[in-house]
């Protein structure tokens, strides 16, 4: 070593959205440290919303200005390409609306550390004046920053760091629910333990791949594979362990067990953030790893992912049938949708044109599914029992008679999940399945029949899933309301805005899919930087 230190080149302009979010998060920590309690929330809310909006504006500037980079940034650590920017935009929009939900009073506990039901907790509650933990805001910003970093990581170490930056705040946030404290803390604990477990897999896999390729950079790994033996057990084991870490984050079977427990226990606005933002980020990372890093290995990973996708769709839709808790049901629905998305991932191989096509389908699906999900969870926050949200499905009976508008909106979201035409969900599913079928017809591809088979599994799973979505609609509109039914909270302006925006997007894209599909197409056509 001759000690020549070269200062790294950082493309500040390109990375500005990341820097804004992380910067605001750090300012948030300072606010927590120095601002008096009564000032904290009034500072946090505009700070958080402005930074997210600002980051989104910066993304827009890059896209509009045609400054989408074609090479990796930050010394090859990050790749800010078309798909990354699209995913950033989606995550920023979703997190912005989630923050509007978070602003609502009453979701977060005043002191998460206090034993539930203890005198300490009551005291903290009395002091906080119902505001709860204001640390929520910087934590959310860190998590969002991690979500932005995750799909843009160009090497495995960076990706691991991003994974942790995204996950750690989420573990904490899960435990902050004001009601049903024990359930919330349990969720937080489980999520942390299992998350740490899967991170270890990810890291171990990274190490083994490094052992094979001598580099952690994704294109480097791909080059090493092209030059070396792709059947090296070191590579295959490394890849499978890496896959476990990633599949855990998207909740694919058999790594889905955490999802229902965590979604149920976490404060609902945080569930909305995880079900939308985290899923989008994780799929971005999955696509990048599989396509950029392991593009030359597709003969090996595709059969395995085939099984995982089929299993995920089946497990998600079948298990959802017997759920009696609305958030658990939505969690299983999220698992099933992860399966549908994996069908799209299966289709990302072959010619560049095909790649762009299936990439477009997945990006579109992620965007519209995320928006609908946030809307659905926003409705869930409004149906309340004395002890918190009325989670049990029996409490939703006859809601259509008591609150027809709200029940109607929720029914519409459910129809969108089920993929009924004239909703955005229909076009999402259609695009993904069509891409999968098309990819199976490429010349010289022996997987063609298998792709068709997977689509059949997907359609059957959709049919099963439609059953439990429609069951809730039937319950809401065709059952008699319970005598002491849940209260319907008067929504705040923020919640109204969230529901309205979600509804508008779900309807609008359903009628005019080209609006989002066009943007997704533009983003996908530049493909990932290899």
């Amino acid at each position: 070593m001759n000690g020549d230190f070269q200062a790294p080149t950082i493309e500040y302009g390109t990375l500005a959205p990341l820097l804004v979010v992380f910067g605001a998060a750090i300012i948030g920590v300072l606010v927590e440290a120095f601002a008096p309690r009564y000032l904290r929330k009034p500072i946090h809310v505009p700070l958080t919303l402005l930074s997210l909006a600002g980051a989104f504006a910066l993304v827009l500037v890059q896209v509009m200005g045609g400054q989408v980079p074609t090479t990796a940034s930050a010394m090859g650590a990050l790749a800010v390409d078309g798909p990354s920017l699209f995913i950033w935009g989606v995550i920023l929009v979703l997190s912005f609306v989630c923050v509007l939900l978070i602003n609502d009073e009453g979701h977060f506990v005043a002191s998460a550390a206090a034993v539930p039901g203890s005198a300490d907790e009551e005291e903290a509650e009395a002091h906080s004046g119902g505001v709860g933990h204001t640390e929520v805001y910087p934590l959310v910003l860190f998590a969002v920053g991690g979500m932005l970093l995750f799909p843009a990581s160009h090497d495995l170490l960076m990706m691991f760091v991003a994974l942790e930056v995204m996950s750690l705040p989420l573990y904490l946030l899960c435990g902050l629910a004001r009601r049903r404290r024990l359930l919330s803390q349990e969720a937080s604990m489980k999520y942390f333990l299992l998350g740490a477990f899967s991170s270890a897999f990810f890291l171990y896999g990274t190490a083994m791949i490094y052992g094979f390729a001598g580099t952690v950079s994704l294109p480097g790994i791909n080059r090493a594979m092209a030059a070396g033996n792709t059947l090296d057990p070191l590579l295959l084991i490394g890849f499978s362990l890496l896959g476990v870490g990633l599949l855990f984050k998207i909740g694919a079977a058999p790594f889905q067990a955490w999802k229902p427990d965590v979604y149920q226990g976490a404060p609902t606005p945080i569930t909305a953030l995880m079900a939308s933002g985290t899923l989008v980020a994780a799929f971005g990372a999955v696509l990048r790893v599989f396509w950029v890093g392991l593009g030359n290995l597709d003969w090996n990973w595709r059969p395995v992912i085939w099984v995982v996708a089929a299993l995920t769709m089946i497990v998600g839709s079948i298990l959802a049938i017997t759920q009696t808790e609305i958030k658990r049901m939505l969690a299983y629905s999220s698992i099933a949708h992860a399966g549908f998305l994996l069908v799209g991932v299966m289709a990302t191989y072959g010619s560049a044109e095909r790649n762009a096509d299936s990439l477009k389908a997945i990006l579109f699906y992620l965007a519209v599914y995320g928006v609908t999900t946030v809307g659905a969870f926003a409705v869930v926050t409004l149906i309340r029992d004395p002890g918190g949200e009325a989670g049990h499905l029996s409490r939703w009976a006859g809601l259509g008679k008591r609150a027809p508008l709200l029940a109607g909106v929720f029914a519409f979201f459910l129809l969108a999940f089920a993929g009924i035409p004239l909703t955005s969900g229909f076009f999402g599913k259609y695009a993904v399945f069509a891409a999968a079928l098309d990819s199976g017809t490429q010349p010289g591809d022996s997987m063609g029949g298998w792709m068709a088979g997977l689509v059949v599994v997907g359609v059957v799973a959709s049919a099963i899933a439609a059953f439990f979505y429609v069951r809730v609609i039937v319950l809401m509109f065709f059952s008699d309301p319970a005598a002491d039914g849940p209260a319907i909270a008067v929504p705040s302006m923020g919640t109204v805005a969230v529901i309205a925006v979600s509804l508008l997007v779900t309807v609008g894209v359903g009628l005019y899919p080209e609006s989002v599909l066009g943007i997704a197409n533009q983003a996908a056509s530049s493909l990932f930087i290899r």
């Binding site: 489980k190 295959l236 395995v304």
Partner: protein, 636 residues
């Protein structure tokens, strides 16, 4: 080989490029009125009228712009957006045919909007009424302007919905609610035909756009598939246009407010079937094909059935409904004759839109003055108290019976002469139908406006306000002059030719042809019989028992009874039978399947123990399986 129908120029900019505004205006109107409901109560009706008028203005401007092109360039396609990727792009086709319909829909539609301000002024739900009217106009415009069958179908369903909502507008009346349901169900049968027809088109040709079909189908192609498509589309047309055997809903549909009957069930929506046949004519109903013959036969039979029903009705609106059936029968007959008949069919459609709307609104005006009484046996001698209504109604009457030189004379006579030329039997049936028309329309006039007063005690008939009578005047002007303008020197024919194709020989209008003179003679005979039965002698205030034939007509030719015994009863039996087998056999399988899924769900659920250690174990096992599988696959 390409037909000339594939020659569609792509168009951007100008009024035509923004023709979607035509649909958007009323759609936005309906949206605002429905969403902001009570807040718009005070000015909602004005917004509704404004939106309809705005749409009319766009239609007129687009029409003027279209006139600026040479006849060969008058088919303009406007691409809007990709609707279902890889399958259907949403686009509009602005051509002479669609713009003619658009002018009729928005023009007559606007007049009826204006009329409704007065007619519905006492109804507390007037705002909702206008939102439905706007919705209807938007859907109907989509139906005729779309450049593909999918868009047409969405509009088709949209007008079905609007019609359902409007027939059942006074849903507190059980009869109205039932009528709405009946219209919906019967229409469903037709929609099914249209839908299956579209499926077959898509699987056969891989496209649903008119342009794409024009490129693929050589003119005059006939084979089994084409015949099947034609008959399926005809089934759709029969449902929407109330043609036999799907006519039964139209008479009941008169339960809706009268402007609805005028707008939807006389002037516009019921002509959608004619539009479908004419638009698809070059593809699936070529001259001399079996499908075209089927259209003509359906038309001829319906025109007689409608006329016979019209003879026996004492309810003024139901009488007019029977006549609507009959007149649309004429249009279908014309549409089944190939390009030679299209111009007359469309011409009759347009003039009928005027004189029938005129008479329906006139009937509404009468009802407005008579406490919503519809029984003509309780009218009589109204010409003196309602002079404007009488004069306008009388003009509509002269037009529909084909009094020389009025609108109906030219268009109906055109259809009859072409039919006699191409299909003599059907043509002479149409002549007979014209005679019966002369009878029942005269009967209506005599019973309503002549004779002595047979009013109920509390009736104080009065002339309607100007907001209602001015539309009547405008419509009666159209009823007088429009027909001659369109038919003489073949103006409409030449205008439509780029869109529907040219006939083999140019028709000439003869004032003294044999079928024409025979028609006039029969009409005169019909009118004289009506005068002898209803003008010369007093009309009994209570319906007499009547002969077997009268009862036959009064009961709508036993259409409902036929439906009931042929479809409803056997249907109910079949359902019961099916339920029986379903419970025993199929349900066993289905329930077994559902129970199987549910049961596996219940069993799988037990894996979800709630213990983090079990979850971690499942991750570990999953990781082991994944690794094993990868190694295995890698080593095959």
């Amino acid at each position: 080989m390409e037909s000339q129908l594939a020659e569609i120029a792509q168009h951007t900019g100008g009024v035509i490029g923004n023709a979607w505004l035509m649909i958007a205006f009323p759609l936005v109107g309906a949206f605002i009125l429905l969403v902001f409901n009570r807040f718009t109560n005070r000015w909602g009706h004005l917004l509704g009228v404004a939106m309809s008028l705005a749409s009319f203005v766009v239609a007129v401007l687009a029409f003027v712009e279209l006139l600026g092109f040479g006849p060969e360039e008058r088919r303009r396609a406007v691409h809007l957006y990709e609707f279902i990727p890889g399958m259907v792009d949403m686009g509009l086709l602005i051509d002479p045919l669609s713009i003619s319909f658009a002018l009729l829909i928005t023009g007559v539609g606007s007049l009826i909007h204006i009329y409704s301000i007065g007619y519905m002024s006492h109804d507390e739900h007037r705002r909702r009424f206008f939102s439905y009217l706007n919705l209807f106009v938007a859907a109907m415009l989509l139906l005729v302007l779309a450049d593909n069958y999918v868009g047409l179908f969405i509009g088709w369903e949209g007008v079905g919905l609007a019609s359902y909502l409007l027939i059942g507008f006074w849903q507190f009346k059980p009869s109205a609610a039932t009528a709405a349901k009946k219209a919906f169900v019967v229409n469903r049968v037709g929609d099914f035909g249209l839908l299956v027809g579209m499926f077959v088109i898509w699987t056969t040709f891989g496209t649903l756009t008119f342009k794409g079909l024009g490129e693929q189908i050589a003119p005059g192609t006939q084979n089994g598939t084409m015949l099947a498509i034609g008959l399926l589309l005809l089934l759709g047309a029969c449902g929407k246009s109330a043609q036999l055997p799907l006519q039964s809903w139209l008479l009941d549909a008169m339960e809706g407010p009268t402007p609805v009957s005028a707008l939807i069930h006389a002037a516009t929506m019921v002509t959608a079937g004619v539009y479908l046949v004419v638009r698809s004519g070059a593809f699936f109903f070529p001259e001399g094909s079996g499908a075209a013959l089927a259209v003509a036969i359906v038309g001829a039979v319906t025109l007689l059935a409608g006329a016979i029903i019209g003879c026996a009705k004492d309810d003024i609106k139901k009488g007019l409904a029977g006549s609507t059936m009959s007149q649309i029968g004429y249009m279908m007959l014309g549409a089944g004759l190939g390009p030679a008949g299209y111009a007359f069919a469309i011409g009759h459609l347009i003039t009928h839109g005027f004189f029938k709307a005129d008479m329906f609104l006139g009937a509404g005006s009468v009802m407005h003055g008579m406490n919503d009484e519809v029984d003509m046996r309780k009218y009589g001698a109204l010409r003196k108290v309602m002079p404007i209504t009488f004069v306008t109604f009388f003009i509509g009457y002269l037009a529909i019976i084909g009094f020389p030189l009025l609108s109906g004379y030219f268009t109906k006579d055109g259809i009859i002469e072409t039919a006699v030329h191409h299909q003599p039997i059907l043509g002479w049936l149409a002549v007979l139908g014209a005679g019966i028309t002369g009878f029942y329309m005269s009967r209506m006039i005599f019973m309503t406006f002549f004779g002595e007063k047979r009013w109920a005690d509390d009736a104080h008939p009065h002339e309607s306000p100007l907001v209602m009578t001015v539309p009547l005047m405008i419509l009666s002007l159209g009823s007088i002059f429009l027909g001659g303008y369109l038919i003489l020197s073949n103006r409409l024919l030449d205008w439509l030719t780029p869109a529907v194709g040219a006939p083999a020989e140019r028709p000439e209008f003869h004032f003294t042809s044999v079928p024409g003179l025979a028609t006039l003679a029969l009409v005169a005979v019909g009118a004289i019989i009506a005068w002898m039965k209803y003008g010369r002698v007093p009309v009994p205030a209570v319906q007499p028992r009547g002969s077997f034939l009268t009862t036959f007509a009064r009961r709508d030719l036993y259409g409902d009874a036929l439906n009931e015994s042929l479809f409803m009863r056997p249907g109910q039996w079949l359902t019961r039978l099916a339920v029986f087998f379903d419970n025993r056999g199929i349900d066993g399988v289905v329930n077994g399947l559902a129970a199987g899924i549910g049961g596996s769900s219940g069993r799988l659920r037990r894996i979800q123990t709630g213990f983090a250690r079990t979850y971690a174990l499942s991750i570990l096992i999953g990781a082991a399986l994944l690794t094993g599988a990868l190694l295995f696959v890698g080593n095959i």
